[in-house]
C-alpha cells in the first residue's frame, strides 16, 4: 500500500519574530495510507485545526514537509496551492459552507467548473456522486431549503465530485443531530470501504471517531498515541476510545 499523505516533522509557530509567539505544532509526523480512514482527536486548542489547515495548503508549516500523492505541498506558490486544493483535496466543514446563492447542483458542480472540466461532462459527474450519496431529489433546491443533514451531504458531494486524493473533514458532524450524524458517518464509511476514498477526519466526538480505522491523539502540538481498529467491532473500538480519552 502506498501513502496518500506523508507528514514529516512539521512545526507551526504563530506570531511574528520579536512578538509574542506560540508554538501550536511541535514536530508532527505520520502517514495516511491510500484508502485509509484516519481520525484525529485531541482536546480543544491541541492543534487539530492548525494541522488540517497545513495539510490542506490553507496555511504553511514553519518547518517540516508534507507530501500529498507524493508531491511536496510546502514549496508551492499561491496559485499552485489554490489549484492543488481544487484538484487533490476535498473538504467538509462543520458549518457546511455551501453557497446560499447557488442551487445544490451548482454548488456541487463548482469544483469541476473551477478545473475547466467540459460543461457537457459536468452534469453526469454530479449525477453519479449524488446518487451515491442519496441526494438526487434535492438538486434544484437552494441550500436554505434543505435540512442540516442534507446540507452536509451536499457538502460531501461537492468535496468528492472531482475525485480528490483525500477527503478532509473538520468536525463534519459537529452541527448535526445524532441521526443525521450517523447517516453521514455511515456514508463516509461506505465511501471509504467501497469506493476506497481516503479520509482524514478531525473530531472531538468519540462516536464519530469510532468510524475511523485508526485514530491519532494529538496533545499540546504533538502526536501522543495511536490506536487501531484492527478488526474490532465499532462498539468495542468506541469503548477503547473512551478509555483512552479517560486516561488523559
Amino acid at each position: 500500500m502506498s501513502e496518500v499523505v506523508q507528514v514529516q516533522n512539521i512545526t507551526k509557530t504563530y506570531g511574528k519574530k520579536g512578538e509574542k509567539q506560540y508554538q501550536a505544532l511541535k514536530g508532527v509526523s505520520f502517514d495516511v495510507e491510500r484508502g485509509e480512514f484516519v481520525g484525529i482527536m485531541g482536546a480543544s486548542g491541541s492543534g487539530k485545526t492548525t494541522l488540517l489547515n497545513i495539510l490542506s495548503t490553507l496555511d504553511q508549516p514553519t518547518t517540516g514537509n508534507v507530501y500529498i500523492n507524493g508531491r511536496d505541498i510546502t514549496g508551492l506558490n499561491k496559485n499552485q496551492m489554490a489549484d492543488f486544493r481544487g484538484q487533490e483535496i476535498g473538504f467538509i466543514f462543520q458549518d457546511f459552507n455551501l453557497l446560499e446563492n447557488l442551487t445544490n447542483r451548482e454548488n456541487i458542480a463548482l469544483p469541476l467548473s473551477l478545473q475547466n472540466v467540459k460543461s457537457s461532462q459536468i452534469n453526469p459527474k454530479v449525477d453519479k456522486i449524488v446518487k451515491r450519496l442519496g441526494i438526487d431529489h434535492i438538486l434544484n433546491k437552494y441550500p436554505a431549503e434543505i435540512s442540516g443533514g442534507q446540507k452536509q451531504r451536499v457538502a460531501a458531494a461537492r468535496a468528492l465530485v472531482h475525485e480528490p486524493a483525500i477527503l478532509y473533514g473538520d468536525e463534519p458532524t459537529g452541527a448535526l443531530d445524532s441521526k443525521s450524524a450517523t447517516e453521514l458517518l455511515e456514508t463516509m464509511k461506505g465511501l471509504n470501504e467501497n469506493d476506497r476514498v481516503s479520509i482524514l477526519m478531525v473530531t472531538h466526538d468519540p462516536y464519530s471517531a469510532s468510524y475511523a480505522s485508526r485514530i491519532l491523539f494529538i496533545k499540546d502540538g504533538k502526536i501522543g498515541k495511536e490506536i487501531k481498529k484492527d478488526g474490532k467491532s465499532r462498539e468495542e473500538f468506541y469503548q477503547e476510545i473512551i478509555a483512552e480519552l479517560g486516561r488523559r
Binding site: S56, L58, Q60, K78, N79, A82, D83, F84, R85, G86, Q87, I89, F91, F93, N97, L99, E100, N101, L102, E106, A109, L110, P111, L112, S113, L114, N116, V117, S119, S120, I122, N123, Y142, A144, E145, R158
Partner: protein, 620 residues
C-alpha cells in the same frame, strides 16, 4: 465599558469608517457648495442680471433635487454603517447588555459620526466652493466676477438639513436594533432570501417594463406633437419602466444565462450569476433610482455644456471680433494686449447731402478696396430647424443693383460708426474727388476670443470712446452703441447662459458623485455578509485572481446596468431639448459623456478595491 467596546469596534474597522466618514463629509460639502451658489445673491446678480428670475426657479429646483438625492445617499450610507455594526451590537446584547443601553450607543454613534462629518464637510465646502467656482469660471470662460466661498445662510441651512437628517437616521437605527431580536442581528447575513416568484408575473413585468420605456422614449421623440403632455408621460413611463425592467428583465437574462450550461459551468460563472441574481432582486429600487439620477445628471451636464455652445453660436453671427474706428494712445496700448490673427481695412469718406428733413449721410468707399481687401460677413439662415451661418464676401457687384434692401450694403455700413448712412462704392477717381476727411476702419480677427475676452471688450470700448471724442465727428449721427460688436453680443448671451451652464455642470457632477457613492455604499453594505462565501471559495481551491475578477465583474455589471439605461434615457431625453430650445445637443456629446464616464469608472474602481479589501483576507 460598553462605550470602550464600541470604540474598539470602530477602531478595528477604521478603514471602512474612513470611507463612510469621508463619503458623508463629501456629501455635506457638496450640499453647502450648491446652497451657496444657489442662494448667494452676489453670485446670482453678478452673473445673471437678466435671467435672474428664471435662474432662481431653476436653482430652487436644483436644491430640491439635491436634497432628495442627499437623503437617499444618507440612507444607504447608513445601511453600510448598520451592516458593519449590527453583529457587534447583537453580540453585546447576547452577552447581556441592556437593550436601552445598546439603543443609546447606536444612536450616539450615528449622530456623532454624522455631525462630525457635517461640520468638517461645511468647512471643506467653503474652500471647495472658492476653488471650484474659480476653476469653473475661468475654464468655461464664464462671466462671473469675484465670488467668496463663505456665506452664512447657506452654512446654517446645510448644518440644519444634515442635523435633522442624522437625527432621523439615528432614531431609525436605534429603533432597528432595539426592535429586532438578537438572533437576527447575529445572523442577518444568513437570512434566507425569497427564492421563487411567480414566473408569469415576472414575464408580464419584463414585457411591461420594456414597453413602458419604449412609450416614454417615443413621447420624448415626439415632444413637438405632444406638447405639455410630454413631460408627465415620459416621467411616469420611464420611472415605472425602469423599475420593472430591473425587477424582471435583467433577472430574466441572468436566468437565461444560467440555463446555458456551457457558459454557466465555466470558472466562477455560476457563482457570479448566482450573486447577481440575488443582488438584482435586492437592488431593484436602488438600480432604477440610480439609472434615473444618472440620466438627470448626465442630461444636466450635456445641456449645461450646450449653453456654452449657444454662446459659441451667438458669436458666429459676427465675422470680425473687433472693429477699430481710429487710434489714440489708449487704443494702441490696449491693442498690445490682444493677439491679432488678421487685420482687414477699408477707407471711407462721410458726406452730408441734402438739407433739413431730406438730410442724409453718404459713405463713399473706394471700389478697389472692396475688390481687393475681401471684407466678409456672416449670412444667417435656418437649416433643418437650426440656426445656420455661412461666411460670405462683400463684392462690388452687391452695390450695383438698386433693390431696397441689400444685405451686403447693410453689413458694410454696420461696420462703420454711421449705421443709418447709405454706402456708395465708387471708382478711385470719383472717390478722390469727394471732399471729406479719409477715415480708416480696421477689422480685426483675434486669437483666443473667449479666454482673452476682457481685454478684447476693453479694446472695442476704447475704440468707440476714441471715435466719439474725436473733434471732427458728427456727434448726432454716430451710432456706435456697440450692440453690433461681437463683444457686446458675447456679453449679452453669455451672461444669460453662464449661470445655466454653471448649474448644469455643477448639479451634474454633484449628482454623479452622490449617486455613484450611493451605489458604492449599497454594494459595500453587502460585503460583510459575502465574506464567508469568498472564504469558502478560496478554501476549495479558487485562485485569488479569479475571485478578484469575479468581484470586479459582478460589481461592474451592477454599475453598468443603470449607467446603460441612464445613457439611453439621456439620448432620448435630449430630443426634448432639441425641440424646446432648438439646440443641437447631440453635437459635442462626447465631452459630457467622457467627463461622466471617467468619474463613474473611478467610483467603480474604488468600490471594487474597497470590496475586495473587506471580502478577501490577506494570504500572509
Amino acid at each position: 465599558m460598553l462605550w470602550k467596546l464600541s470604540l474598539t469596534g470602530i477602531k478595528s474597522r477604521f478603514k471602512d469608517y474612513l470611507v463612510l466618514f469621508s463619503g458623508l463629509t463629501f456629501a455635506s460639502a457638496i450640499f453647502y457648495m450648491f446652497m451657496t451658489l444657489a442662494t448667494n445673491p452676489a453670485f446670482l446678480k453678478g452673473s445673471l442680471s437678466i435671467a435672474f428670475k428664471i435662474t432662481q426657479i431653476v436653482f430652487g429646483f436644483g436644491i430640491a433635487l439635491l436634497s432628495i438625492i442627499t437623503f437617499v445617499y444618507i440612507v444607504y450610507a447608513n445601511s453600510f454603517l448598520l451592516s458593519m455594526r449590527q453583529k457587534d451590537y447583537g453580540m453585546y446584547m447576547m452577552l447581556g447588555a441592556r437593550t436601552s443601553k445598546i439603543g443609546r450607543l447606536i444612536f450616539t454613534e450615528t449622530l456623532v459620526v454624522g455631525l462630525l462629518a457635517t461640520l468638517l464637510g461645511t468647512v471643506l465646502g467653503v474652500g471647495l466652493t472658492q476653488g471650484v467656482s474659480s476653476v469653473l469660471i475661468s475654464q468655461l470662460g464664464l462671466q462671473i466676477h469675484k465670488f467668496v466661498g463663505f456665506y452664512l445662510p447657506a452654512l446654517l441651512w446645510t448644518i440644519a438639513f444634515f442635523a435633522i437628517l442624522f437625527f432621523l437616521v439615528a432614531f431609525w437605527n436605534r429603533h432597528k436594533l432595539v426592535k429586532s431580536n438578537v438572533i437576527n442581528l447575529l445572523h442577518e447575513d444568513q437570512k434566507p432570501v425569497k427564492l421563487h416568484r411567480n414566473k408569469l408575473w415576472k414575464f408580464i413585468e419584463a414585457i411591461l417594463g420594456i414597453a413602458l420605456l419604449a412609450v416614454g422614449y417615443w413621447a420624448m421623440m415626439h415632444a413637438a406633437k405632444l406638447g405639455k403632455k410630454t413631460i408627465p408621460i415620459a416621467f411616469f413611463t420611464i420611472v415605472f419602466g425602469s423599475y420593472f425592467t430591473f425587477d424582471s428583465f435583467f433577472t430574466a437574462i441572468i436566468d437565461l444565462l444560467r440555463k446555458n450550461l456551457a457558459y454557466k459551468y465555466k470558472k466562477l460563472h455560476s457563482f457570479t450569476l448566482g450573486q447577481l441574481k440575488f443582488r438584482l432582486s435586492d437592488y431593484t429600487r436602488i438600480l432604477s433610482t440610480v439609472s434615473l439620477l444618472f440620466a438627470l445628471a448626465l442630461g444636466a451636464i450635456t445641456v449645461g455644456l450646450n449653453f456654452n455652445n449657444m454662446t459659441e453660436q451667438a458669436m458666429q453671427s459676427t465675422y470680425y471680433d473687433v472693429v477699430l474706428y481710429g487710434h489714440n494712445k489708449k487704443v494702441d496700448n490696449q491693442l498690445k494686449k490682444v493677439s491679432v490673427k488678421s487685420t482687414t481695412t477699408f477707407d471711407y469718406k462721410m458726406v452730408v447731402e441734402g438739407k433739413g428733413k431730406e438730410k442724409s449721410r453718404v459713405l463713399y468707399i473706394p471700389e478697389n478696396q472692396i475688390k481687393n481687401n475681401q471684407i466678409m460677413y456672416q449670412h444667417y439662415s435656418r437649416k433643418n430647424d437650426m440656426n445656420h451661418y455661412d461666411t460670405r464676401c462683400i463684392k462690388v457687384s452687391d452695390f450695383k443693383n438698386k433693390t431696397d434692401f441689400n444685405e451686403a450694403q447693410y453689413q458694410l455700413v454696420s461696420l462703420t460708426p454711421y449705421i443709418d448712412a447709405q454706402a456708395k462704392v465708387v471708382p478711385e477717381t470719383q472717390y478722390n474727388q469727394v471732399k471729406a476727411k479719409v477715415n480708416k476702419i480696421e477689422l480685426l480677427r483675434v486669437n483666443d476670443f473667449r479666454s482673452n475676452f476682457n481685454n478684447i471688450e476693453k479694446l472695442q470700448n476704447l475704440s468707440a470712446t476714441q471715435m466719439m471724442s474725436s473733434p471732427e465727428v458728427d456727434k448726432d449721427a454716430v451710432n456706435v452703441n456697440l450692440s453690433n460688436s461681437k463683444s457686446a453680443q458675447y456679453r449679452l448671451v453669455s451672461s444669460m447662459t453662464s449661470g445655466f451652464e454653471f448649474m448644469g455642470f455643477f448639479l451634474g457632477l454633484a449628482f454623479l458623485a452622490m449617486l455613484a457613492s450611493t451605489l458604492m455604499f449599497k454594494v459595500l453594505s453587502g460585503a460583510n455578509s459575502d465574506k464567508p462565501r469568498y472564504q469558502m471559495l478560496w478554501k476549495v481551491g479558487t485562485r485569488k485572481s479569479l475571485l478578484k475578477a469575479s468581484i470586479a465583474k459582478e460589481i461592474g455589471i451592477l454599475f453598468a446596468l443603470p449607467a446603460a439605461l441612464g445613457v439611453v434615457d439621456v439620448l432620448f431625453g435630449l430630443q426634448l431639448f432639441k425641440s424646446i430650445l432648438g439646440m443641437n445637443t447631440y453635437d459635442k456629446l462626447w465631452i459630457p459623456f467622457t467627463i461622466f464616464g471617467v468619474l463613474y469608472v473611478l467610483y467603480y474602481l474604488l468600490t471594487v478595491v474597497l470590496y475586495q479589501h473587506i471580502v478577501l483576507q490577506k494570504e500572509d
